[in-house]
């Protein structure tokens, strides 16, 4: 009935890898749910079984279908800038309790702003303007939230 497609291209392999990852997660949920009380283990076990069944179904679909269904999203633009952004965000989050919202926010704003690609060359005035805008925006948010709305934001513990 189905014609097994033996030649697996890159995108199809990506789909199979993704579905297998969720299958492993489902297996883990089923295994870990054994430690819970009977009332609490039904739902995670059901979800785990659902993930396993769906991942098997997706693998079968990928192996048997002639055309690629559905194609994984292609990455356009710079992967390096994306990685840098994630790295900056991670450093920002880690530094937040030590440097506080204002200092960490101003630094992160300036650094992320500098990492954004621009069609024309960046001048020193342009960088300075972005940094100033970042400082003003961060302080503006801090003042509005803490002084007017009484919402506490992370405070510095480092100094």
């Amino acid at each position: 009935m189905f014609k097994l497609k033996m030649k697996i291209d890159g995108n199809r392999a990506k789909n199979i890898l993704g579905s297998l990852t969720f299958g492993v997660l489902g297996s883990f949920m089923c295994y870990a749910s054994q430690d819970f009380e009977s009332a609490g283990q039904v739902t995670p076990a059901f979800i785990g079984c659902g993930l396993i069944a769906l991942s098997i179904l997706l693998v079968l679909v990928e192996l048997c279908k002639r055309e690629l269904l559905p194609p994984p999203t292609a990455i356009t633009g710079s992967l390096i800038r994306r990685s840098l952004f994630i790295g900056f965000m991670a450093i920002w989050v880690v530094a937040l309790p030590y440097l506080g919202f204002v200092v960490a926010g101003c630094l992160a704003f300036a650094i992320i702003s500098a990492a954004v690609p621009k069609n024309s060359n960046k001048t020193s005035a342009y960088v300075a303007l972005n940094t100033a805008a970042g400082v003003l925006t961060t302080i503006g948010f801090w003042v509005v939230l803490t002084a007017f709305l009484k919402v506490p934001l992370p405070e510095a513990t480092f100094f």
Binding site: G18, T43, L54, P70, L79
Partner: protein, 503 residues
């Protein structure tokens, strides 16, 4: 007639000023990703105490309504829902903004919000007591079926991609299992981490799953974020009015769905907009392209979530059971003002109720000029904003939005981790919105299922509890229709197309 009298009372400059301020502040707070309606109402609560009961309540009500609509701004312009209620607005709002129709999308959202808001208020006015009784008929089994019905939207979000959509939905359900079990009290999947005991918080998770991937992709290329308007002098107001008139059935249907879901305690605007979106896409014409920038998607989402503002107050006022968290804030404000909640409210404090509703009605109509003005201003600002300012600004708002609700540092970490996970699995073709659905509806479904099962076992009537109650039967019918009808209709339209080609 009595209501008309109170309308004239509420037409005082003071009430109008209070309502306009509430709307303005609500829209601005709701427009910031992560700052939900609950947050907006909570931070404005102390200001309302400085006013008399009626203006104070109108102020809070308009903040609630404004923030619900304000969530659509960032949903449409930067694909980052400002509030959980506007998750479904991103599906069609952002594609419209990408093709240069962001101003039109915002105008449609504003008008749909006004229609939904007025529907909720009028239903409250005329049908509050019987609808409150209807809401009490929802038992655990009905909540379970309602949550499952909400999950059927995965089918409409996963056109040609259903298995991956379902896997994402199940992943969301898996995430909802982290923390203390609502059924047994077990610590599930926390592994000694105290930050996970309370489970994955919805707002930071939503920001991470839906907003951070957008910010990650924004930084990748130098092209401008949004297209500039196709026609500079196009009249968005008339085009939006025509778009809504062409889809009046959708607007009415979604407003009514929002109203009905709103009166069910704990359901709220997010579920209302999900159910309304699923229904609108199921009953759409063949020419409609839901999920690809169809105005109908915005109309369904925004009219439904704003309808819950008025209808959610029905159980709050009549029964003293807040329908949504912002209603709980309003309930608290009423108690502080010494207004007695319950059936007696409509006899002993009828003046307060009617003046409050009159003020809300006027404020909802005022949302049209205020919303359109702010929409025009913010749209113009976002389209002209350089990316070197927009990207760090979005990142800053994501951090603030994740932290501000619970003032918890761990929420920012959860936002970041889930955002990276969502971006990675997006690259493998697994969509993020079903994960949010699973996370949102998982606890409701589990609690409803477990409680219904326990009641069924105690009565020795498990099947009757799940399958024999009228509301459950109606919801099961809706679920089956949502799953079975779209592929059948698609197949029949394909067959018709083939037959036409053969002829």
């Amino acid at each position: 007639m009595e209501f008309l009298h109170h309308i004239t009372v509420a037409f005082s400059p003071y009430i109008l000023a209070v309502g306009t301020c509430g709307l303005f502040l609500g829209i601005l707070l709701g427009a910031l990703p992560g700052l939900s309606s609950t947050f907006s109402c909570a931070v404005m609560l102390p200001i309302s105490f400085s006013m008399d009961p009626v203006p104070g309540l109108i102020f809070l009500g308009t903040v609630y309504m404004g923030s619900t609509y304000g969530g659509s701004f960032s949903a449409i312009l930067i694909k980052t829902p400002g509030t959980p209620q506007s998750i479904t607005t991103t599906f069609d709002g952002f594609p419209m903004a990408k093709r240069g129709e962001g101003g039109l999308a915002l105008s449609i959202a504003c008008m749909a919000s006004v229609i939904g808001g007025l529907t909720g208020i009028f239903v409250f006015l005329w049908l509050a007591p019987p609808l409150a009784e209807f809401a009490l008929m929802f038992g655990p089994a009905e909540y379970f079926w309602l949550a499952l019905f909400g999950l059927t939207i995965i089918a409409s979000l996963s056109e040609g991609n259903l298995v991956k959509g379902l896997i994402s939905g199940f992943f969301g359900l898996a995430l909802s299992q982290i923390g203390v079990s609502v059924v047994s009290g077990d610590m599930r999947f926390t592994y000694g981490n105290p930050a996970l005991i309370g489970g994955i918080p919805i707002i930071p998770a939503t920001i991470g799953l839906l907003c951070l991937p957008v910010a990650i992709d924004l930084i990748a290329d130098p092209d401008h974020h949004l297209s500039t308007p196709l026609t500079k002098r196009s009249n968005n107001f008339l085009r939006a009015a025509r778009a809504i008139w062409d889809r009046k059935r959708n607007a009415i249907q979604s407003s009514l769905i929002g109203t009905l879901v709103g009166i069910i305690p704990a359901a709220g605007g997010a579920i209302a907009s999900l159910v309304a979106y699923a229904e609108a896409s199921r009953t759409a014409k063949k020419s409609d392209r839901f999920g690809d920038g169809d105005p109908g998607g915005i109309i369904a989402s925004e009219s439904a979530n704003n309808a819950t503002v008025g209808s959610g107050l029905i159980p709050t006022f009549v029964l003293g059971i807040p329908g949504t968290p912002p209603d709980a804030v309003i309930l608290g404000a009423m108690m502080v003002h010494g207004v007695q909640i319950g059936p007696k409210l409509f006899t002993e404090h009828n003046d307060i109720v009617l003046t409050f509703l009159s003020g809300m009605t006027i404020a909802t109509v005022l949302m049209l000029p205020v919303g359109l003005f702010l929409g025009r201003f913010i749209y113009s600002a976002v389209t002209k904003m350089p990316k070197s300012y927009l990207v760090p600004m979005v990142a800053l708002m994501l951090v603030i939005g994740s932290f501000a609700i619970q003032n918890n540092y761990h929420d920012i970490v959860i936002m970041l981790v889930l955002g990276i996970v969502a971006w990675v699995i997006n690259r493998f073709g697994f969509p993020a919105p079903p994960i949010v659905l699973g996370l949102l509806l998982g606890p409701i479904a589990e609690q409803g299922f477990a409680q219904a099962l326990m009641i069924g076992r105690a009565k020795d009537a498990v099947l009757e509890i799940f399958f024999a109650r009228p509301i459950s039967v109606a919801l099961i019918g809706c679920i089956l229709a949502a799953i079975v009808l779209p592929p059948l209709l698609r197949r029949s339209s394909l067959n018709r197309l083939r037959m036409r080609k053969n002829v």
